[in-house]
Amino acid sequence: MGAPIDQNATLVIGELRLPAQPAKLGLAREYAHQAATAFGLDVDRCHEFAFAVNEAVTNAIRHGSPDAHGHIHLSVRADGDRLTLAVRDYGTFSGYAPIAALGADRGRGFALMAHVMDAVQLCVGSGSTTVRLSKARV
């Protein structure tokens, strides 16, 4: 028998630096779908996972800013039965105006993400915006 499994362990499954271009959205969906399938989400949940990631990446491309190399960052983590994919862009937020814009522009996308995911987390930092999308194995 191996060492006891730490139930709180977080496993980083992978990272993807994606060119912030609409034509690369298919790649983001494929990445999300593969991660969800490998993690063991059922077929419908894999589709929902990829749908939500597509919405988050679309928002990042439309409203956010890429890093110095023109990329936005996707990373996948597993926490127990929960799979989380984070989408990070490097938009610089100043004051409340961008927050208000979030409500208007990203509102619909967020509502849809929240509808299909178990949890959606938005972290607005001084130099980046991260959306974390989580879904559990049933």
């Binding site: 609409p22 959205l25 589709h47 929902e48 749908f51 679309t58 439309r62 849809l112």
Partner: protein
Amino acid sequence: MGFFYIGDEAPAEVAHHGDDVVVLVAGGELDYAASPQIRDHLRSRIDAGMRRLVLDLSGTTFIDSTAIGVLVAAVMQLQELDGGSLAVVCAEENRRVLRIFEIAGVDSLIALHRTREEALAELAVAG
């Protein structure tokens, strides 16, 4: 990159339904990258005088909120133009796309039909 297409069905096959009826076929992955071309294509048919549009999504494997937003905008534009309409065709087996329409909650705005015949029959009643 995601693959998608949109085009007109052979006009002769739908002509008998009325001269303002057009059947469009879109397939592949309808996302933010594809949305501008979908919007332009719908707009060009409306500008050409078409008022009853059928959009067949039977070959569509994915649709996102921006593409659905384009369809909603077309519906609203058509409604303002003497009660025009857009009917979307999506087969029962295309669960992935039907599920996204369900999530988007646009069933009160966009009429979804299982077959093209059903959509055309509905247009005939409406027209």
